[in-house]
Symmetry: C3
Subunit: 206 residues, 3 copies
């Protein structure tokens, strides 16, 4: 009797890398949005939404392939988790951009650009890491640095919230900015969650 | 040697259909609640809560059966996902009705009735779709139409939020209405999620 | 041919018990925090955060063991669910303590201490229950009592929200207190979820 093995399907790595590249584009669009004059923001939010739709397609492509592939390069649930995790990063970034426009936020606190800067760096790290899943080599720096960035994001978030509630800002403005700042913090958390999952996978599979 | 196969247990479809029928009742109670005078709302919210409890029982019945059934008509996780998804629809509808009463919201924006109207139509579509899971036939219209409804819900939601923040409404009132409107939008999203899962199942199993 | 069976790894019960004990410490620190004068709260929030970090470590230890253990004492997903569920309890408690300090809440409504009292009792019940998972005996009281406590928490929560919105409180203060009260209610819900999962496991495994 011969055991027939389906070859491990490598293209999951390509699909995850495509999704992570879209996060880089998304973080870039978000960066332009938060620094642009209010009048130019709706167009940039529309760009961000298009990128989010494209990333959604990539995520669905991964899920579909998972459903139709018998042998996966590593634990099926982990690939699912990575795809869902990257999707979360994009969703929170898109939400932040969308809220800025929907709420017609005029002046954003300066530290918001630091939040977005961290997201841009987190996205780049994720995009560099995804192709390395193939060999599971050279990934430690990715999760260490992403965790460091998330800690920095957390400090900035706390500073922003404290300033917001104790700077004499009007209640309605607080409500709006709190939602925007929180969506950006949720995005940083989502990037960390992906990095932690990559760490778990690395420990498990190697 | 004889391989003994447990017959595929068809009654998952019946149980899912029962839960979806409860969503129709729930959406109906919610519809009466949002159009009723404030004084009649607590009784209607209590009705909605009873329906939610009944749906909870149905969901648990599905979960219990999943735990005790060896062979399921399709992927165990997908049945779990459908049951959990229908449960989410009910939870968000119940939450919306509950918040209206808890916050003692007096005047609801007119567009809220359009949000609830979409939920009623989404519930009807889901209730029609569940029995068709047996043959996986005639389901495309369900997910296409539910997605269309969710897009409509999204437009209404955005319009409501924009009006809320820019109509000179008092801050405390904004807080209350934002929570209600968001719970209704979350319900529409939850219906879409169930429809998307049905689409995934259809593609996978057929 | 002899079938070699890996012995059921009992230490999952020990690890879950450790995590539940940490919840008892966390709920205790939270209790001291909500009754302490505002000036002493930052130090108590820091203590709570340390306990939360330690619980996080325990949770990760369980996950890692799950990843490296072939035969688990009961359904792998259920152990995962218990660990994640206990982690949620801690996260919401830590969040509540953190928000009180971050928002510089001065006066907490008196009923908040009743919310925390319920969390302390729920944590004790969970800590007593975890070692009993080994035999799955004597657990019914745990889930019945935890559900009763959650119902009580729910009534207190609703009373707090109603008072908050109708007691002439300033909008910004409402925003702050609503987040704190909701984090405490989310913690009570999280304890109930763990108890419900224990009920499910008991029915399934016995």
């Amino acid at each position: 009797m011969r055991l027939r093995l389906t070859p491990r399907n490598e293209s999951f790595f390509d699909l995850l890398a495509v999704t992570a590249d879209q996060l880089v584009s998304g973080a870039d669009a978000l960066g332009r949005l938060v620094t642009a004059p209010a009048v130019e923001r709706p167009a940039l939010a529309a760009t961000l939404r298009e990128i989010e739709h494209a990333a959604d397609e990539s995520t669905h492509a991964i899920m579909r392939r998972l459903d139709t592939t018998f042998v996966t390069p590593f634990d099926r649930d982990d690939i699912y988790g990575l795809a869902a995790g990257l999707d979360d990063c994009m969703d929170h970034m898109e939400e932040a951009g969308d809220l800025i426009v929907l709420y017609r936020v005029d002046r954003l606190p300066e530290l918001v650009t630091s939040q977005v800067d961290i997201l841009q760096r987190s996205a780049l790290l994720a995009a560099e890491a995804m192709p390395r899943l193939r060999t599971l080599k050279g990934l430690a720096e990715y999760w260490v640095e992403t965790n460091r960035l998330e800690n920095e994001a957390d400090r900035i978030y706390r500073r922003l919230i404290a300033d917001l509630f104790h700077g004499g800002t009007d209640a309605v403005e607080i409500m709006k900015l709190k939602d925007v700042i929180t969506a950006l913090e949720d995005a940083a958390d989502a990037f960390e969650k992906v990095a932690n999952l990559v760490e778990t996978i690395s420990l498990k599979e190697s």
